[in-house]
Symmetry: D2
Subunit: 143 residues, 4 copies
């Protein structure tokens, strides 16, 4: 079965090391939880992350889904900074006011070369789904 | 057949009005060309738009695809700032160095309620495809 | 909250009426369960549904996902035979031997014009995910 | 640059050998053309391929897109019967009457392990796009 190899604290520290821009772009970003086959990400959105109409923008929602997949890889495969997204499909379902975004990500398949995940995004402690994504990461071959 | 209702200059001016953050986040952003059923977008990427490994990030590529779809709607439907993405699927195919990104977008369907487009992203004047996206925008009902 | 308007038995009878080919193409097809926001579909696969390599084919897995979305619409909106798929994204994760396919479908959003669902496909009573799909159905306007 | 390694005639003969069911399920199926980076597929649809409403069904359109991707792999990589679809995203845009379906497929990326393609489906010699798909095939490692 799936078993994490890094804790949430180890993940947060590793992500800030390999991707130091993250805290400027996404203040309050953190991996909130790591469980077997599952990772939860949070970030805080403000006026930089909104679009016409005053709601959280598509690129912001894409970003948290993409970072959720990245955290799935790192937490379950190890410190593979160069893992890259090969495909991401996202459905936008409701508008969200700026505040706290939460992405609940599940690993659907962890192969030798690919990890497939899905991700459900909610906001501001409501249960309503803001967006839902499915994506694939390519895992660099072991050296 | 499809016929634009706004020129590239009108589009650029409208987008800056309804989405004033755009030039801070994406310097050099512009609609470069509008043709029947087709729109071309450009932006300049710098160190803010890269990911681990030094190449242009997934969220940046998503953004240009999404803005390309938005420009498809505005150019062919009119000043509909509140059109929203409902689905976007993106495949990442090659790495791109920071520089100039170009998104060539084609309208696949323009219905009363939905516009479907595809988008081929290239970089730095190479023909190689960096990423390819297909997406759907919901068009607000006419008042 | 989401509430079904048809039972599994009513759904099965309606689907056979509007789509009589279904039992020839997909023997053993049935809606096994309807719950609030959720539908479970089953079908039996045989040598007609396999591809090179002897495993269940992609089109067969697409079909059960698509029929799962259709059952989501019919069960929660009513007898709308002319609802149509507008988008479906599917990831194929493991091979499946012919036998019983099961699709567990969840409604992510039920709007006036669109229903978004996801679908997890398993086979032969194993928990392993064979394929995972996300899709959108357009709901015909009420007359 | 991309260069085919099999002709259309070689492809048709190979596909019938490894997937003998194809002509029963999809009468008139053939690879009509192979060009560098591009493949064109045709098939004939009849009452077996329609859905409620009398138009060509989603699974039929999925099938021709999927077979188009398969033909992209076989034509440009060689006789790799066990290549498998890992992801396929399809947008359904217009209804099609039964008759001749045509899928025009372009290779977006041919890597060592993955081939990404897109596919535009038209029907009955009209230029209108019925459906558009983007997909990924995994290529078995060379022995």
């Amino acid at each position: 079965m799936l078993q994490p190899v890094l804790t949430a604290a180890e993940l947060n520290s590793y992500i800030c090391e390999v991707y130091p821009q993250i805290m400027e772009q996404y203040p309050g970003y953190k991996v909130a939880r790591v469980d077997p086959g599952r990772v939860e990400i949070q970030m805080v959105t403000d006026e930089r992350h909104i679009r016409a109409g005053g709601t959280v923008s598509g690129p912001t929602l894409f970003s948290i889904a993409d970072m959720g997949g990245y955290a799935c890889v790192l937490s379950h495969v190890g410190r593979q900074a160069l893992a890259v997204t090969t495909n991401l499909n996202i459905n936008f379902m409701r508008k969200a006011d700026p505040g706290i975004l939460c992405a609940d990500c599940t690993i659907l398949k962890l192969g030798k070369r690919l990890l497939v995940f899905d991700c459900t995004i909610t906001a501001n402690e409501s249960d309503e789904v803001i967006a839902h994504a499915t994506g694939t990461y390519a895992i660099p071959p072991a050296r």
